[in-house]
C-alpha cells in the first residue's frame, strides 16, 4: 500500500509547516526589535532558553500550557466544525466564575465530591457562555466571530461588577482595601500539586486525558464525525441528512466547555479564588496553539507547551532586557498569519496529488 508512505509524509509536513511559521514569525519579530533599537539576540536568549533553563522554568511552562491545551482542544472541535470561536476569554471567565461561586456555596462537601463537581461546573459554565453565540449562529445566522467577541467584552464587565460587588471577599471589605477578588476557596477544593514546590497541578494530567478524549470523540464517534463533516462540507452534510445547525451549536457548546474547564483549573489549581484577568489572554493564545497544532488534539499538546514556554520566556525577557510582553502577542499574530498563509501551498499540493493519483486526502 502506498497510503502509509503518504501518511508519513503528511505528518512530516504537518510538523514542518508550523515550525517554518514560527521561524518566520521570529525573524519578522527580530526585524521589529532591531528597528526599535533592541538587540534581538539579547531579547530572544531569555525568551527561548529561559523557560528550559531549570526545573522551575519547565514547571512554569507546564503550568501555563495547561489552560492553553484545554482551550486549544475546544478550538479543535469548533474550527473542525466550521465555527470560529473567538470567545475563549469570556468562556474561561464564565467557567471560573461559576466554579468559584459554587465552590464557596458548597464548602460543606468533602473534596472527593467537590473537586469533580466543580470541574464539571467549570465546563458547564463555559459551555453555556459558548452556546449563546452557537444558538444565534444556528437559528439566526449571526456571525459567531463577532458575537463571541462581544460575549468576551460582556464577561469582562460582568465579572468586574461581581468582584467589586456581590462576590467580593468580605476580608477586602472589612479592611477597606477593596481589592477586586473573591473569597478563597476551601483548601479541599484545590487541585493537588504534582511537583513539589512548583505550581504544576493535577490540571495538567486532566488536560492530557482530555486531549485523548477529544481525539477519540472527533475521530471515533458518530457525533464527532458529523461535527467534522459539517465543518468540511456543510452542503454535502445537509444532503446526507445531518442537522447542520444543530451540530454547529453543539460544537460551540463543547468548545466553550473546554475553555470553561480551563477557567476551572486556573481557579482551583493556581489562584484558589476568582480575580480580574483570570483569563490572562489564554482564550486568544489557545486559538493560536490550536491552529499551530493543526487543529489536531494530539498536535495541540506540543503546541500548548511551546506557547506556554513563549509566555514564560516573555516574562524572563522582560526582566532581562525590559521588552514588553506585547511582543508575545505580536509574535502570536505573525504565527497565525504565517500558518494560514501556508494553507494555500498545502491545498495546491493536495490538488496536484489528486490529479496525479486520483487519491484525495481528507485532513
Amino acid at each position: 500500500m502506498t497510503t502509509s508512505r503518504f501518511h508519513w509524509r503528511d505528518i512530516a509536513i504537518d510538523i514542518l509547516i508550523p515550525i517554518g511559521a514560527a521561524i518566520g514569525a521570529l525573524l519578522v519579530g527580530a526585524l521589529i526589535l532591531v528597528s526599535a533599537g533592541i538587540n534581538p539576540v539579547a531579547a530572544y536568549g531569555p525568551l527561548l532558553i529561559g523557560p528550559f533553563a531549570n526545573l522551575y522554568g519547565v514547571a512554569q511552562t507546564i503550568t501555563k500550557a495547561t489552560p492553553l491545551l484545554l482551550v486549544g482542544l475546544g478550538i479543535c472541535i469548533a474550527f473542525r466544525g466550521g465555527i470560529i470561536n473567538i470567545g475563549g476569554e469570556g468562556q474561561i471567565i464564565a467557567g471560573a466564575t461559576l466554579v468559584t461561586w459554587l465552590g464557596l456555596q458548597l464548602k460543606f462537601l468533602p473534596g472527593i465530591v467537590l473537586i469533580p463537581f466543580l470541574l464539571l461546573a467549570g465546563f458547564i459554565g463555559g459551555a453555556l457562555w459558548g452556546i449563546v453565540p452557537g444558538i444565534l449562529k444556528a437559528r439566526l445566522n449571526a456571525s459567531e466571530i463577532l458575537s463571541t467577541i462581544m460575549m468576551n467584552l460582556i464577561a469582562i464587565q460582568g465579572v468586574s461588577f461581581l468582584l467589586r460587588g456581590p462576590m467580593i471577599d468580605p476580608v477586602e471589605v472589612a479592611y477597606g482595601t477593596g481589592f477586586p477578588q473573591s473569597e478563597a476557596l476551601p483548601e479541599w477544593a484545590w487541585l493537588p500539586r504534582i511537583v513539589p514546590k512548583t505550581t504544576v497541578h493535577v490540571g495538567a494530567i486532566i488536560a492530557l486525558l482530555m486531549a485523548a478524549l477529544v481525539y477519540v470523540f472527533l475521530w471515533r464517534t458518530t457525533i464527532g464525525y458529523r461535527i467534522r463533516a459539517v465543518g468540511y462540507n456543510p452542503a454535502a452534510s445537509r444532503c446526507a441528512g445531518i442537522g447542520v445547525t444543530r451540530y454547529a451549536a453543539l460544537a460551540m457548546f463543547l468548545s466553550g466547555g473546554f475553555a470553561g474547564l480551563a477557567g476551572a483549573v486556573e481557579v482551583m489549581g493556581i489562584h484558589h479564588r476568582m480575580l480580574d484577568g483570570v483569563s490572562a489572554g489564554y482564550g486568544f493564545t489557545g486559538i493560536v496553539a490550536g491552529l499551530f497544532g493543526k487543529l489536531h488534539p494530539i498536535g495541540v499538546i506540543p503546541a500548548s507547551f511551546l506557547f506556554g514556554a513563549l509566555l514564560v520566556g516573555a516574562d524572563k525577557m522582560q526582566r532581562a532586557v525590559g521588552v514588553s510582553p506585547g511582543i508575545v502577542s505580536a509574535l502570536q499574530g505573525l504565527v497565525v498569519l504565517f500558518v494560514v498563509s501556508s494553507d494555500l501551498w498545502l491545498r495546491r499540493r493536495s490538488a496536484r496529488r489528486v490529479e496525479s493519483t486520483g487519491e484525495e486526502v481528507v485532513q
Binding site: I32, I86, N141, S143, M150, F284, G326, G333, V340
Partner: protein
C-alpha cells in the same frame, strides 16, 4: 433623572458627544464596508486602530505636528491593510482566522511600542473644534453638529462620498462586481486582485484614521487598549448597515448615542453599576447581529478567496 435631562440641556450634550463618538465608528466601518463589498472580511480592524492610534499619537507627541500624526496613523493603517491583502487575497487564507492574526499583531505591537517609546501616559494638544460660521449658532443643531473638529466633519462627509463612489462610478461597479461574482468580473476584464488590494488597503487606511482620531482627535492621549472593542463593533456595523453607507451611518449614530448616554449616566453617578452601562453597546451589537442581518443582502463572494480557473 428626567429633571436633569431638561435642566442642563443634557440631551444636547449627549447628542453632541454622540456625534463625536460616531466618528471612529464611521471611519472604520466605512473602510471595512469597502473591503467587504470587494469580498474581503478584515477582522483586524481593532488591532489596526490600536496601532494607528499609537503611531499617530507618538508622531504628534515627538514632532508637535498634528498633520504628520494623522499621516502616520493613515500610513500605519494602509500597511496593516497591505498585510491583510497579501495574506487573504494573494495567499487566499481563511479570512476569519487571518483577521485574528492581524488583530493580535496590532494589539501586541501597540503595547510593545507604547512601553518601549513612551512608557507613561502623556497628552498632546489634539485637533481643535472648528465652529462652522452661522450654523454653529443655531440652537440645538449648532452644538450638536457644527462645533466639532475637522476629523468629525471628514467622517460624516465620507458617508455621501462613499455612496457616490460605490454606486455612481465605474470603480464602484467594479468593486461590487468583484465582491458579488469574481469569476464573471474577471471574465469581463476586471482586475479582481487589484480591486481587492485597493479596497483592503483603503479600508486599512480608514481604520488608521479611526485610530488616529481616538488618540489625537478625541482623547488627546494614548492609553493601552484605547479602542475598547470599537474596532469589533465597527465590523458588526457593516453587517448592521447592510453594506450601505447610509445604513452604516445610522448604525454608527445609534451606537455612539448609546455610548454617550452610557458615559453621561456614569458621570451623573446614577445608580446603574458602571459595568452594566459599559456593557450596553456590546449587548446591542449582539442583538443587532441577531436581528438585523439577512444573508441574502451580503456580497455573494464575501470572505471567499478567488483563484483563476476555479469552476
Amino acid at each position: 433623572m428626567m429633571d436633569d435631562f431638561l435642566k442642563e440641556g443634557a440631551l444636547v450634550l449627549i447628542l453632541a458627544s454622540g456625534v463625536r463618538l460616531a466618528t471612529p465608528y464611521l471611519f472604520a466601518a466605512l473602510g471595512e464596508m469597502f473591503g467587504q463589498r470587494s469580498g474581503v472580511v478584515n477582522l483586524g480592524v481593532d488591532g489596526t486602530m490600536m496601532l494607528s492610534a499609537f503611531t499617530a499619537f507618538y508622531t504628534t507627541f515627538t514632532t508637535g505636528s498634528l498633520a504628520l500624526g494623522l499621516l502616520a496613523g493613515v500610513l500605519t493603517g494602509g500597511l496593516m491593510g497591505l498585510i491583510m491583502a497579501v495574506v487573504s487575497v494573494t495567499m487566499q487564507a481563511e479570512q476569519g482566522i487571518s483577521g485574528i492574526g492581524l488583530y493580535l499583531f496590532g494589539l501586541g505591537m501597540s503595547n510593545l511600542l507604547f512601553r518601549l517609546l513612551l512608557g507613561a501616559i502623556s497628552t498632546v494638544e489634539g485637533f481643535k473644534p472648528l465652529y462652522i460660521p452661522i450654523l454653529s449658532n443655531l440652537p440645538v443643531i449648532g452644538p450638536v453638529f457644527f462645533r466639532h473638529n475637522l476629523l468629525v466633519y471628514l467622517a460624516f462627509l465620507l458617508v455621501p462620498v462613499s455612496w457616490v463612489i460605490l454606486f455612481k462610478t465605474p470603480l464602484g461597479l467594479k468593486i461590487r462586481a468583484v465582491g458579488e461574482n469574481p469569476q464573471v468580473a474577471d471574465t469581463l476584464g476586471v482586475n479582481v486582485t487589484g480591486i481587492r488590494y485597493l479596497c483592503v488597503i483603503v479600508g486599512g487606511m480608514m481604520s488608521g484614521l479611526a485610530g488616529a482620531y481616538l488618540s489625537i482627535g478625541l482623547n488627546n492621549m494614548y492609553v493601552s487598549n484605547i479602542t475598547n472593542g470599537m474596532g469589533w463593533i465597527a465590523v458588526a456595523l457593516v453587517y448592521f448597515g447592510r453594506w450601505r453607507p447610509a445604513g452604516v451611518l445610522a448604525g454608527s449614530l445609534l451606537f455612539s448615542v448609546v455610548n454617550a448616554l452610557q458615559i453621561w449616566v456614569q458621570v451623573r453617578g446614577i445608580a446603574i453599576p458602571y459595568e452594566f452601562a459599559v456593557m450596553m453597546p456590546y449587548v446591542l451589537t449582539i442583538v443587532a447581529l441577531a436581528f438585523a442581518v439577512q444573508r441574502a443582502q451580503q456580497p455573494g463572494a464575501l470572505s471567499k478567496p478567488y483563484e483563476r480557473g476555479e469552476a
